[in-house]
């Protein structure tokens, strides 16, 4: 199952990130996972939120540049080596991971990682075949 991630362009300047979180907070948007990728010039804030469409809308209203992408959220055992198992499954079917980051907190002894694979269909099929579950949008947006 694929879930929606939103990415926001942030300039490298003080107050930029708080401006994004302020806009989201004021609109009652809840964040369940995030990562900030940055260079010396700019950053990309990636978010999993409870209402991606609304988040995009309010950010655009505040002149932010936003994109929605599909990513997958894999549920892994919260134990040493848990992540390796999932990454090996993807590597075996020749799927590259563009980037990944973890959900805040864990769920019933499991951790959740957000993965952006280069070939989403292949990745999902391989995970399913190896009994690794991926989160349903309904579950994610409720987290």
């Amino acid at each position: 199952m694929l879930i929606k991630q939103i990415s926001v362009f942030v300039e490298n300047a003080p107050g930029q990130l708080s401006e994004v979180t302020k806009v989201l907070g004021e609109s009652g948007i809840d964040m369940s996972a995030l990562s900030l990728a940055d260079t010396s010039e700019f950053g990309i804030l990636r978010l999993i939120v409870n209402d991606p469409d609304k988040a995009c809308e309010v950010l655009r209203e505040h002149h932010f540049i936003v994109k929605q992408n599909d990513v997958l959220a894999a549920v892994i055992d919260d134990r040493p080596g848990g992540l390796t198992g999932v990454l090996d499954i993807l590597a075996n079917v020749n799927v590259s991971v563009e980037y990944m980051y973890a959900f805040v907190g864990s769920k019933d002894g499991h951790a959740v990682v957000v993965i952006r694979p280069d070939k989403a269909d292949v990745a999902i099929a391989a995970l399913e075949a190896n009994h690794v579950s991926t989160l349903d949008p309904k579950d994610v947006y409720r987290l």
Binding site: S7, F9, F42, I44, R46, I65
Partner: protein
Amino acid sequence: MIGMAMYQPQIETMPQDQLRALQSERLVKQVKHVWDNVPYYRKKMEDKGVSPDDIKGIEDLHKLPFVTKDDLRECYPYGLMAKPLSECVRIHSTSGTTGKRVVAYYTQHDVDLWEDCCARAIMAAGGTKDDVVHVAYGYGLFTGGAGLHGGSHKVGSLTLPMSSGNTDRQLQFMEDLGSTILCCTPSYAAYLAESIHERGLQDKIHLKAGIFGAEAWSEDMRRDIENKLGIKAYDIYGLTELSGPGVSYECTEQAGMHICEDHFIAEIIDPDTGEVLPDGTKGELVFTSITKEAFPLLRYRTKDICVLNREPCACGRTHVRMAKPMGRSDDMLIIRGVNVFPSQIEEVLLKVSGGDITPNYQIIVGRENNTDTLDINVEMSEALFSDDIRSVERIEKNIVAQLRSMLGIGAKVHLVNPKTIARSEGKAVRIIDKRKI
């Protein structure tokens, strides 16, 4: 004779020596007219120690003082008129975005000659009385609508006075009345082309040519419009101060715009020294209107940087051709000794963004350790953005590389949030020069 029919073939193909003689005769007359009727000009000439007796022909043109936009503003609204208001039938005006408006006056004779120039442009683009000319330039104070409208009448084409905007109606008329020649700004042409594709109307539109001016546009944009609309796209040039569109226009060769030399004398000068430069040299374009009655301008500095080409044109016209202006002398920056025009930077940004819209940008020139620095802020857009750092960085690097290959100098590119580049009266502030020399 190759190519299409001409509107005034005898004038348009007049041998160059005869054309020079005609210009000399008209210049002498015009200088007297101005001296007799415009005190402001007379004073300017007296200050330079020149009188009409010193101007015996085109070879004496360089003795006359220049006129600039500042003069026009100083003389606003009636200061440069050479005919009483009772003889005038029309005004047009510049947009006034860079300062006070400039108002230009026309007698009926002036309007006639201006429309002749536009008629030449339409026929040079292949227009005949059987064409349906779709004029989507703005009508009103702006000269675009009125100029091409009048020119189309003179050719005898069916004229559609559409004015700009209301794309649905434009496309409806284009389809129902079979418009064959589209006249509008290049950006509007690109927009219409896009709309035609989106709606799948390609087969219902029968345009064959377009006459696009009043804005800077690149060769890439020309090809894009031509491909999308299946037409030939021609450039047209003009200034409200001189009449309007039709001061020069392209023929089917699409190799420079023929200047209507029987009405305007063109010179290229060094923008710093005012010295006249030989044909083929890049410099500021200066025009003298030799047939205008109400609002004649002598040696008007256009600020457009340009090159003139006197080589014979395959179309048979003898009138000198001007290249597309490469920029404006008041916009030109000298960075590490290299002439840089914002239009060049704009071209790169348009190319890199791969769209029809140039991202908003700002050029910041500074100086560190006695070396000029060039920083370009580019507003981020959803077209450029991606969730992947590498692709965004690639865009940044691509802009830097393209700028280096075009200008030969390095620049730092910064992607900034949209709507963060300062605007003044709705126009973005494009250049900040922080150098103190």
